[in-house]
Subunit: 214 residues, 2 copies
């Protein structure tokens, strides 16, 4: 194997970067990300749909997901709706509608559902629309918002109230096979990726070599 040669960037190098270059660069180097469509509605029932890659698992009990919102971005409609209705949905993206999902990030005056052709789907459990095309849909209720001092982003934490996913993807131990679901991942601001399993490894204990599990 040829040895890798490395290049290094200091914080001064990063500060000197052109804004768009820096955005692409820093958004890339944090790694592959959870990407999802977040569905909301305002108090009059007007729907909104936006793509987010800052989605994070917060905890299993209570079951919670966090989304980090940038200040003053186009996606603030989503945050306003969450604050006024207390609800949102998280919808996994499949390869079949990745272009429409990406297009939700355009600055539309009206609903991104109408603009992109994605289909709103309603449930009695939450007052926010799902995406009918999505293979894994989660309905959430707002639990907490924490603003970060460093850059005024806001971490919105929701508690899971409802989950819909395809039959046959949840294993006997609860592990859910996202490749069977058809979920994709993303990197940077605009790159989308399918995955293939390398391995699933047994619970790590000192003195035991991890083994592949089914």
């Amino acid at each position: 194997m040829t040895p890798i040669t490395f290049q290094a960037f200091t914080s001064a190098d990063v500060a000197a970067m052109d804004d768009m270059f820096r955005r692409n660069f820093i958004n890339s180097i944090t790694g592959f990300k959870s990407v999802a469509l977040v569905g909301t509605a305002d108090e009059h029932g007007n729907t909104n749909l936006a793509i987010f890659s800052q989605v994070i698992h917060v905890g299993a009990h209570p079951p919670c997901i966090g989304i980090l919102f940038r200040p003053h971005s186009v996606t603030r409609h989503t945050l306003e709706n969450i604050k006024s209705t207390g609800c949102f949905t998280v919808n996994h993206i499949a390869e079949s509608f990745v272009n429409a999902a990406h297009q939700t990030s355009a600055r539309y005056a009206g609903s991104e559902y109408v603009a992109t052709g994605l289909t709103p789907l309603f449930s009695t459990a939450v007052k926010a629309p799902y995406v009918a095309e999505s293979p894994l849909r989660i309905g959430l209720e707002l639990r907490e918002i924490k603003k970060l001092d460093v850059n005024d982003t806001e971490l919105v934490v929701g508690e899971i109230k409802e989950i819909a996913l395809p039959d046959g993807v949840v294993g006997p131990d609860g592990f859910t096979d996202l490749e069977k679901v058809g979920s994709i991942t993303c990197s940077g601001l605009d790159s989308y990726h399918r995955t293939s399993r390398i391995t699933r490894l047994s619970y790590a204990k000192p003195g035991k070599t991890p083994v592949a599990i089914a």
Copy 2:
């Protein structure tokens, strides 16, 4: 195409799950995740290394990354070290050392570097060890910690002070090709995945169809 049949879970279903089943399930359904090894040292220079999948891009300017820490977990050594030294490193994981990376989650009394055979690498920029085997290494200084009320997890935000990555992976617009880097993603608590690019899409504007970019 055969229509997908769905199964649904209510919040009552989730609450009634066995603890381990729920952990696997909720950790899976949030989507593919950024996964990295976080390197730290205590005030005496004793090294610590732990695998984290709750890694999130916080912002590009200043360039910041967040990591969510569970309360009372084995990985608290990492958090204690960050609090006492103000530094940590984030190291991408490649397929060639995924087993060793996973094994860092075992409850070792001493350094996970020694236990797993991964190699500490030091720099003058941060007082925390990198992982020499890692193809993309980021050195950070602690900026902020926010505790979440919902479950006492702590979001630790660091500002990027240094980055090392292979030659030839950063594009002319700053986009960094993580497949060229060799970074992997994870799902659930123990599943690791390689990726393949579906597409990279142009900046979304109303009335314009997104097109694939190189």
